[in-house]
């Protein structure tokens, strides 16, 4: 019985090709835009949060503004922090800009960063050649430098910089390592940096305090507890003065970014869903026209023994059929649009099962909702009136 109805629906749609196609167009556009929007936003979200995660989701950053009495953190504060639970390592940053010279060539306004061994241990992909900073360098305030790819390009073109000297802010250093060129997120790029032991940096750049500290976590899910612990150390250190420091939890940021993006994709999908409703109204219209045209047929079928349910089912199936076919075309079209857009923007493309089910489910639902009323109308047709109409 169901098969008969589906077959009849198919035949009726094929018979009115152009009309069926135009009717389906609303659903096609609705579903295609939902699929494309969700998929593109999803792809962008994934790409961005991947990049952000690369920067360190397992990291809490403490930035110190200080108070008049205590302008930044010292080594003792760092030690106290690193003794808290769930902490893998603490990496301070001391940063300044200065000129650097190699064999008479000057490069101005270069970012010189003071780091410790933790910085390199936490991300082994940083170092390209040579060695990184070790404890000995830190303790002895060794004048060693690790240089970024742009520096190599500018000053050491064609020579291996390892073992060569580099004058930073008037003092001579030895290059012991080079950094991998980082592409992508510019925020994390070290290409134009020179990295030296932070202890050396404090002395040679004349910095007394540490104003930025990356705290690496053992377990990211405990980040909130660790933030509380950090406050427990920092608050007494700054004498409970407000606004002495800020704590920036990267995991939090990724989370709120992702929730923002999923809100946005819901919003966009909601807007696209309006076009589905419009498509549904188109289907309802076509069903009503079709019923008027087939009044005699409906009357005859009833005279021959078709029950009202049977007639209703027939038309609901026809409507579902129309909108599902439209939905499937929309799915393919939306997928193609998203795929092309993803390739164009350079983000990942993945059409999730959930998105497909959403589109198919939504278009089926539209078929049921907007087919119900016309189908009910058809089922209530009086066969006498229907047969007289001829």
């Amino acid at each position: 019985m169901l098969f008969e109805s589906i077959k009849m629906s198919y035949e009726n749609i094929v018979r009115n090709k152009l009309r069926s196609f135009l009717t389906m167009l609303g659903i096609v556009i609705g579903v295609a835009s939902i699929i494309a929007l969700i998929t593109i936003v999803q792809g962008a979200t994934n790409s961005i949060s991947d990049q952000v995660t690369e920067l360190g989701a397992n990291k809490i950053t403490v930035n110190v503004m200080g108070t008049p009495l205590k302008q930044g953190l010292n080594q003792e504060d760092m030690l106290n922090i690193s003794e808290e639970e769930n902490i893998k390592g603490v990496s301070p940053t001391i940063s300044g800009k200065t000129g650097i010279i190699y064999e008479g060539k000057l490069m101005e306004n270069v970012t010189v960063q003071g780091k410790n061994e933790v910085y390199f241990n936490m991300d082994t992909s940083l170092l390209k050649t040579g060695r990184s900073i070790n404890i000995l360098d830190l303790n002895s305030k060794n004048q060693v430098a690790i240089i970024g790819s742009d520096i190599i390009h500018e000053l050491y073109f064609g020579v291996d910089p390892i073992g060569k000297d580099l004058v930073i802010n008037g003092t001579s250093y030895t290059v012991v390592g080079t950094l991998n060129a980082s592409s992508g997120f510019s925020m994390g790029s070290n290409n134009e940096s020179v990295i030296i032991p932070y202890t050396t940096a404090m002395r040679s750049l004349g910095v007394k305090n540490i104003s930025s500290l990356d705290v690496f976590l053992e377990d990211t899910s405990l980040a909130d507890d660790t933030v509380t612990d950090l406050k427990g150390v920092l608050n007494p250190a700054f004498n409970y003065k407000e606004n002495a420091y800020t704590i920036f939890n990267m995991g939090d940021m990724i989370e709120s970014f992702e929730s923002m993006m999923s809100m946005m994709s819901l919003l966009l999908a909601g807007i696209a869903a309006i076009s589905l409703v419009v498509g549904g109204i188109g289907i309802m219209n076509m069903m009503l026209v079709s019923i008027t045209e087939r009044t005699m047929e409906i009357g005859l079928r009833k005279a021959l023994g078709a029950t009202p349910k049977r007639i209703q089912l027939q038309f609901v199936i026809e409507s579902i059929f129309l909108s599902l076919v439209g939905g499937l075309i929309g799915l393919v079209l939306g997928g193609l649009i998203a795929y092309t857009a993803a390739a164009f923007i350079g983000i990942g493309f993945s059409l999730s099962i959930a998105t497909i089910l959403l589109a198919v489910g939504f278009s089926g639902l539209v078929g049921i909702v907007f087919g119900y009323m016309p189908a009910r109308k058809a089922s209530q047709l009086n066969p006498i009136d229907a047969l007289r109409s001829l």
Binding site: R15, M296, A303, L304, G305, P308, K309, R310, I384, L387
Partner: protein, 227 residues
């Protein structure tokens, strides 16, 4: 003789606003299995209204109607649909074939609603098309058939469910003299084979083919006795 149809004091009224129009007035009719009855009356006498009630397309305003022992008053839309499918085979003046279906598919229609499998439907429909002499036209669309052939397809469709009553409303009304006579011949043959037929007509010449003629005038029946 088993009784297939029994109408007792059947009335049917239509309401045009406040005004009541009584189209059938306390009609009594009893039909036994194997009869060939013709309901003869002029236009507007209530023939089609009778046919609608006999065929369970409409329900009477008052009175009792038993069809094969089923009291129609107790039945809902769905049950009426089943009764129509099982008990009645309709033949209409203008054939009422679905134009996009072949002769065979048209004949199969009532069997779809009877819930038969497609092979069984096809087998029974072919047999019935053979019975009305159209076995070589099964794939033809209605437009590819003459009026007489179309009415034969309609008769095959009416008979394919083996209904209790073949109910025909002006079956020759749209046909010329000669083809009309052929259809009447077929009706006589079918009745000879035991089929119960109720035929509605305004044409006394056509009505004479029936064994029993019941006159209808202003919604009232009168009978002249068996001819």
């Amino acid at each position: 003789m088993t009784e297939v149809l029994n109408m007792q004091n059947i009335s049917k009224s239509y309401y045009m606003g406040e005004e009541e129009l009584e189209v059938l007035r306390k009609v009594n009719l009893q039909v036994n299995s194997g009869e060939f009855l013709s309901l003869l009356g002029p236009s507007g006498s209530g023939k089609s209204t009778m046919m609608n009630i006999i065929g369970c397309l409409d329900i009477p305003s008052s009175g009792k109607y038993l069809l094969s022992g089923n009291d129609i008053e107790d039945l809902d839309e769905t049950e009426l649909a089943f009764i129509r499918n099982k008990e009645i085979g309709f033949v209409f003046q203008s054939f009422q074939l679905l134009p996009r279906l072949s002769a065979l598919q048209n004949v199969e229609l009532p069997l779809i609603y009877a819930g038969l499998s497609s092979t069984e439907r096809k087998e029974r429909s072919l047999k019935m098309l053979d019975r009305v002499g159209l076995v070589d036209k099964t794939k033809n669309l209605p437009t590819q058939l003459s009026g007489g052939q179309q009415q034969r397809v309609a008769i095959a469709r009416a008979l394919v469910t083996e209904p209790t009553i073949l109910l025909a409303d002006e079956p020759t009304g749209a046909l010329d003299q000669k083809t009309g006579a052929q259809v009447m011949e077929l009706f006589e043959e079918l009745n000879h084979d035991g089929r119960t037929i109720i035929m509605i007509t305004h044409d006394i010449g056509i009505a004479r083919h029936a064994k029993r003629v019941v006159n209808i005038l202003d919604g009232q029946l009168s009978e002249q006795g068996v001819q």
